[in-house]
């Protein structure tokens, strides 16, 4: 951002320092910290606002179909005795004591979740994949690496999010989105990260099975989280969405004639 300021906004910053004392309102903005660059700001604002005009700007609904979800066994839930009371609206029914998750609802929720993920990735947000299932730990980590984001599949320390400034140093940047591939930890309690993310105002996307509590998850996706086929499908979908959103951002920047992406602007600070 500093690089852009020097190249484009230098002449405008001079004008601002002259104008501010003369005006009736004194805005206490130090020009050296945030020099006004009307030209670059307009373009960036347009880039940031354009995806908000359409409901499915990144066309995430094309990435999956009902048949894909069905073949990946996303509709299979646990037994009736394991059911969480709050998951009952998402269930299609119970067949011979096995819960069946309603895939029509799952389609809608998954589309919302993927759309939200795409918008976060488009705006350069940090995404954290969390799963405490040891069976899928490696898969989740490779997924995160492939889309250039982060994963946490090990023991969750108590103050990871809530005590981050003390544990990791002041001014640490927390994730902007946390994606839970499984919302339970190994003793079938809810993962601490869900409660902590809600405390820190971090939106969450979570795959909730029929024995999970969907209340604190911002974008719950009712679905199977135990079968490898289903988890591979989710990982693939999230990876494709994030890559698609990031490619779209690069495309938009090139289209609107901003500077070619250098190594410094790899993580845009603008939100």
């Amino acid at each position: 951002m500093a690089v852009r300021a020097l190249t484009r906004g230098f002449r405008y910053s001079r004008a601002a320092t002259v104008a501010s004392p003369c005006g009736g309102h004194h805005y206490v903005t130090a020009p050296s910290v945030k020099p006004p660059q009307p030209q670059a700001d307009d373009v960036t604002e347009k880039i940031l606002n354009q995806p908000l005009e359409k409901p499915d700007f990144f066309r995430v609904a094309e990435l999956f179909s009902l048949k894909d979800l069905f073949d990946a066994r996303v509709h299979l839930g646990h037994k009736k005795g394991c059911r969480h009371r709050l998951m009952e609206p998402y269930l299609y029914g119970c067949r011979l004591d096995h819960d069946i998750i309603d895939l029509d609802q799952t389609m809608e929720h998954l589309q919302l979740a993927l759309n939200f993920t795409a918008h976060i990735a488009y705006r350069g947000g940090i995404i954290l994949f969390v799963s405490r299932r040891r069976q899928f730990g490696h898969l989740v980590e490779t997924t995160a690496k492939d889309c250039g984001e982060y994963a946490h599949t090990r023991y969750w320390q108590g103050g990871l999010l809530t005590n981050a400034n003390i544990q990791y140093g002041p001014g640490v940047r927390l994730p902007d989105l946390i994606i839970f591939l499984s919302t339970l930890n190994n003793v079938f309690q809810q993962h601490v990260g869900i409660r902590d993310a809600a405390k820190m105002n971090i939106p969450t996307v979570g795959v909730v099975d029929s024995n999970c509590n969907p209340s604190l998850v911002t974008y719950p996706v009712p679905g199977n989280d135990d079968t490898p086929a289903a988890v591979e499908l989710y990982c693939r979908l999230f990876k494709m969405t994030i890559n698609r959103a990031k490619d779209r951002r690069k495309q938009m920047e090139l289209l609107h004639g901003l500077s070619a992406p250098t190594s410094q602007t790899s993580r845009y600070a603008l939100k």
């Binding site: 179909s65 009902l66 073949d71 509709h75 646990h78 005795g81 394991c82 309603d102 079968t227």
Partner: protein, 176 residues
């Protein structure tokens, strides 16, 4: 009657013209707001529908039956898992995906896999080989004293019957 014959015979000659006409009509108006079509237009529409139907049925009956028209309810009702019925003593075909010394981890298309001991003489069971199983339970759960929900083992239970012979079909084959 004579008009109909003329339309049917002239269809081949006028296909090019009428397709161009159709395309322009779709682009010009947003929806069919003309009212009841009659005469050549009605007959042409009917012939188009018939031709499309014959083409799609010739392409492949499988593609149309498993196409986007099937709802979740229909997919579920026709799935092997539901058609199988109760899991107790159902014979299914599974696939070994992991071998840990004497334990075979077998996936048969349900939510969970099952773990079976390798029988004495069967050393040919490697990851990827197909086996026959008799299912006992799709998910091992039990409610213990003092608990509000069942405790689940995240596993199914099945008895290994033996390797699947390559020629014997006609058994339950779960989607894999």
């Amino acid at each position: 009657m004579a008009g109909l014959c003329r339309v049917v015979s002239g269809l081949q000659y006028r296909v090019r013209l009428s397709s161009r006409f159709l395309r322009s009509s779709f682009s010009s108006d947003s929806g069919p707001a003309e009212g009841p079509v009659s005469g050549f237009a009605a007959a042409f529409d009917q012939q188009e529908v018939l031709r499309r139907e014959t083409q799609s049925s010739a392409a492949g009956p499988k593609a149309s039956s498993s196409g986007p028209e099937l709802s979740f309810a229909a997919l579920l009702r026709r799935s092997p898992l539901i058609q199988m019925g109760p899991a107790k003593d159902a014979v299914v075909v599974g696939r070994v995906f992991r071998v840990v010394r004497d334990d075979l981890y077998i996936d048969f298309g349900g939510k969970f896999h099952c773990v079976c001991q390798r029988p004495a003489g069967a050393d040919g069971l490697q990851p990827g080989s197909r086996v026959r199983l008799r299912l006992q339970d799709m998910e091992l759960t039990a409610r213990f004293l003092g608990a509000s929900t069942d405790t689940t083992l995240l596993e199914a239970q099945a008895v290994l019957l033996g390797p699947k012979e390559a020629g014997s079909g006609g058994e339950h084959h779960q989607n894999d």
